[in-house]
């Protein structure tokens, strides 16, 4: 080694304590403002929706269908609530198992293979597609061929939004499970699928359930994908088939009904729309808080 490195002792840098404290204060203040700004916006929305919507929540709201007579003060959102539950549930039934299996493939089998890399990239792109376009897509593949709107078409649109979310969440959560556990399972002479389902997914179950719930919550409040698919209806859903059924025709749902009613000139209808908004917010917030409380321990891996 010919280069000589200068390692003579140099005095350490001296900083002004007052300046350091000032910098610290500035950073802290901005972080504080940023955090509280977010919370304040959230709080304001919740406050306003509760203030205006609480009055609408009565027995009729949860038992009667949307009103058609503008002069009466009767009617509720019950048909829309039922419709939203049905559409979201069917979407979850389609997307959660598929998304889960896709996520298992990405995390356990595909890993860094070409197919997995492509699937992962496509999932990321699909997650960024505007939801109105997903609605048009469902229109093209379900509504157009069958020549009518349907709740099922709405479910397909929502499922399409949930699928990549569920797959990527599953992958991320399974990746948190340490490799030692995979190796231990395989070292016991268990086949790969058994280790994956019985050990790996079991270790990650809290996170997986949380992920699935958040994927449902994510689409429960969507409006745009339903505009071209489930549309809306003033009636109760009448079973599965036929013009009023889940597969046979438009199905009432909360978000589209809120959209229609909030734009109406009738105070009672507007009041109902606020009530609908409150119900969605309570449901979404409630689910969020519930799964986070129940499965906090699920993140142990």
């Amino acid at each position: 080694m010919s280069t000589v490195v200068d390692v003579r002792r140099v005095p350490p840098r001296r900083r002004s304590i007052a300046r350091r404290k000032a910098t610290d204060l500035v950073i802290k203040t901005f972080s504080w403002i940023g955090a509280w700004f977010g919370i304040a916006v959230m709080a304001f929305i919740v406050y306003e929706v509760v203030r205006r919507g609480a009055g609408a929540l009565n027995v009729a709201f949860f038992t009667q269908a949307t009103p058609q007579d503008v002069t009466s003060n009767a009617g509720g959102f019950a048909n829309a609530i039922v419709g939203t539950l049905a559409i979201t549930a069917v979407a979850a039934l389609i997307a959660i198992p598929m998304g889960f299996l896709g996520g298992v493939y990405l995390a356990e089998f595909g890993r860094n293979g070409h197919l997995a890399t492509a699937v992962r990239m496509i999932a990321n792109v699909v997650m960024g597609v505007p939801s109105i376009i997903v609605g048009v897509f469902a229109f093209a593949i379900i509504v157009k061929p069958f020549q009518h709107y349907s709740g099922f078409a709405g479910s397909v649109a929502l499922a399409f939004i949930m699928l990549p979310v569920m797959a990527r969440t599953t992958e991320d959560i399974l990746n948190l499970v340490p490799n030692e556990l995979r190796e231990s399972g395989l070292a016991m002479g268990a086949p790969r699928w058994k280790v994956t389902l019985g050990v790996i997914c079991k270790a990650a179950r809290g996170g997986l359930i949380t992920g699935a719930t958040l994927a449902i919550v994510r689409v429960a409040g969507e409006t745009a994908p339903l505009l071209f698919t489930a549309l809306s209806s003033p009636y109760w859903m009448t079973g599965l088939f036929g013009p009023g059924g889940f597969f046979g025709g438009p199905v009432a749902n909360l978000t589209k009904t809120i959209y229609d009613f909030s734009g109406s000139p009738y105070p009672h209808w507007q009041q109902l729309a606020w009530g609908g908004a409150l119900v969605i917010i309570i449901a979404v917030l409630g689910m969020n808080i519930l799964v986070r409380l129940l499965f906090q321990r699920g993140k142990q891996w």
Binding site: R111, G113, P178, N179, E180, L181, R182, E183, S184, G185, L186, A187, M188, G189, A190, P191, K194, G198, V199, K202, A203, R205
Partner: protein, 289 residues
């Protein structure tokens, strides 16, 4: 039922008449007295090469693992000790870019052959990892995992075997009232003995131990070392360790690895008192590594 059921931990102690004094190699260690070539081999490794992608990690490893003996694998970090034993049960197959070449003869078959039944191979060659890794289930189900996978047993037989495996792993007294509690609620040392119970419940022939004590405290380590000495009457044990005192305390034979090659292999007494190779001596005496 399992051949020899040991009921009392005291009996386990009494069986282990070969426990040597700590920190020095026991003079009566069988490795020296015996005729090495006369002992049956459990595993014969011939010219084992190993690759991580294009990088070669093991070079022509050749070694005889003797039946019912403890073979220690020592060497500095990154020398290939873990890589070497991870080839025996083909656990490296989990990773696509890892490849092994050569012969690992076990019960007449080449483990590296594509014809081998991996699930049965792994039943017969159990493995204990560095980090205790209980499955996310109860203590009982952890031990029953391999039994359920490889045997058809009725409920009574299953619980007998679980109890037996826990007794032979010297952990029964600590967990007999916790069989339905989650396995990862136990302490680290208990978890590691639980993993040993899980491995021996499936009735393997060989136990591969990959630095089983490096994540646990000295008291728990002592318990596991005692356990190794009792287990060797029934199993062939290959122990990877970076703790040379541990190798001296529990092993009959020692292999010294350096940069992917087996520099020296022989009776532990000889390796630690009179090594043939200079590199071995330098490592043993702490001059490098």
């Amino acid at each position: 039922m399992v051949g020899t059921t040991v009921d009392e931990p005291t009996q386990i102690q009494s069986q282990a008449t070969v426990i040597p004094p700590r920190l020095e190699v026991a003079e009566d260690r069988r490795g020296v007295a015996e005729d090495f070539d006369g002992l049956p081999s459990e595993i014969s490794v011939r010219d084992l090469d190993f690759f991580y992608g294009k990088e070669q990690a093991l070079f022509a490893n050749t070694i005889e693992i003797k039946k019912n003996r403890v073979t220690a694998v020592i060497g500095p970090s990154g020398c290939g000790k873990s890589t070497h034993i991870r080839a025996y049960n083909r656990i490296f197959n989990l990773y696509r870019d890892q490849k092994a070449r050569g012969e690992i003869l076990f019960d007449g078959d080449n483990v590296l052959s594509s014809q081998i039944d991996l699930l049965d191979l792994r039943r017969r060659i159990g493995m204990i990892f560095q980090k205790p890794s209980p499955f996310p289930m109860t203590v009982f189900d952890n031990v029953a995992y391999g039994l359920r996978q490889h045997y058809r047993l009725n409920r009574a037989d299953l619980s007998n075997r679980v109890e037996d495996a826990l007794k032979r792993s010297a952990i029964w007294d600590e967990v007999k009232h916790k069989l339905n509690e989650p396995g990862n609620a136990l302490s680290g040392g208990q978890q590691q003995r639980l993993c040993i119970a899980r491995a021996i419940a499936a009735e393997p022939d060989v136990l591969l131990m990959d630095e089983p004590c490096s994540a646990i405290d000295p008291v728990a380590t002592a318990k596991i070392e005692e356990l190794i000495l009792t287990l060797k009457s029934k199993y062939t044990i290959v122990l990877v360790t970076h703790n040379m005192q541990q190798a001296a305390r529990v092993s009959d034979y020692t292999a010294f690895f350096f940069q992917g090659r087996i520099v020296e292999f022989g009776p532990t007494t000889k390796i630690f008192s009179n090594p043939a190779e200079k590199q071995t001596e330098e490592y043993i005496t702490g001059r490098f590594g």
